[in-house]
């Protein structure tokens, strides 16, 4: 299905947010996730289904002021 991942269009076979993280190769414990602007805690990723057109953000620690 087609989703929007970190601002770019992305084709995924994953059914859940946890599956998507595995698919992208991101380190599950080193990222935080949001779906359609709402925070999704780590524990809830495997029960969070993806749907066509979902807006997913996978964020990591970065330099900041």
């Amino acid at each position: 299905m087609h989703i929007d991942l970190n601002g770019a269009s992305y084709e995924t076979a994953a059914q859940t947010l946890a599956g998507l993280i595995d698919e992208t190769g991101a380190e599950a414990d080193a990222v935080a996730t949001a779906l359609n602007g709402a925070f999704i805690p780590r524990d809830a990723r495997s029960e969070t289904p993806l749907i066509q057109g979902a807006k997913v953000e996978i964020l990591a620690p970065m330099q900041g002021g």
Partner: protein, 253 residues
């Protein structure tokens, strides 16, 4: 001091814009800071290296919500940061305008209320406006972070009278000057005015020698804090001789 944490070094350092991760690491070490700010972004390259620096620094992490323009974005970012960094501390920024990077006090108070109720320990990036400060304290903030000048401008304390009034108005609330500091003398002035800390980034990161500048800022902040505690003399309009007149010889022939 800041949410019941005893922080001895009152300089807080941002981690962005350094010429290299190694320089960042050295600047943190040279200034001996205890608190550093970080952000959350879409991961590019070098993420793992940055996480190592954070871990090895031993510093307390203050994640920010930089770039958020609405309370909702800031609240979501704060939740993501809490999970990722394992801290309730959040430097809450709700930016009102992309050019001035001025805080949006309405969104800020709204986000602060939501986050404080949810157990966050909020460091709100605000202006020196006293009423906004009061609303933030009512919302549950136990620290306020007024700007010195617009972010990254290096102008120092643009409204000294306003900051002085803020210090007097909130005698029991820890106040940190965040943003706009360009020189160690400006950081020292903030501390001499009785502020409890100074948070800065660009002035160190963009110095020709960031490590030496980090050290200079740490010394200035320490000197300012010592001076404030020691009690500054009041300024006078007129001269007053410091050498006693008593016992002076008559030498006029």
């Amino acid at each position: 001091m800041f949410y019941d944490r005893d922080i001895k070094n009152r300089l807080m350092l941002g981690t962005a814009q350094y010429p290299s991760p190694e320089v960042l690491r050295a600047a943190i070490a040279a200034s001996d800071v205890e608190v550093i700010t970080v952000s959350l972004r879409r991961e590019g390259s070098g993420g793992a290296g940055f996480r190592d620096i954070l871990r090895q620094s031993g510093c307390r992490i203050l994640p920010n919500t930089a770039g958020c323009h609405t309370a909702r974005e800031a609240v979501t970012t704060a939740h993501m940061a809490r999970e990722l960094f394992g801290t309730n501390w959040i430097k809450l920024e709700v930016i009102g305008h992309a050019d001035t990077l001025q805080p949006d006090p309405f969104g800020l108070v709204e986000a602060a209320r939501i986050l404080c109720a949810d157990g966050f320990e909020v460091f709100p990036y605000t202006t020196e406006d006293l009423i906004v400060g009061e609303k933030l304290v009512e919302a549950g903030c136990r620290v306020l972070m007024p700007w010195g000048a617009p972010i990254g401008s290096g102008q120092g304390l643009r409204n000294i009278g306003g900051l002085r009034a803020m210090r007097a108005h909130f005698p029991k609330v820890p106040l940190i000057v965040d943003a706009g500091i360009g020189a160690p003398s400006q950081a020292m002035l903030a501390m001499e005015l009785g502020f409890d800390g100074v948070l800065l980034n660009t002035a160190v990161a963009k110095a020709r020698d960031p490590v030496a500048m980090a050290r200079a800022f740490a010394q200035a902040v320490t000197a300012g804090l010592d001076a404030y505690r020691a009690g500054l003399m009041p300024a006078r309009d007129m001269a007053q001789a410091s050498t006693p007149v008593f016992g002076m010889a008559e030498l006029l022939a």
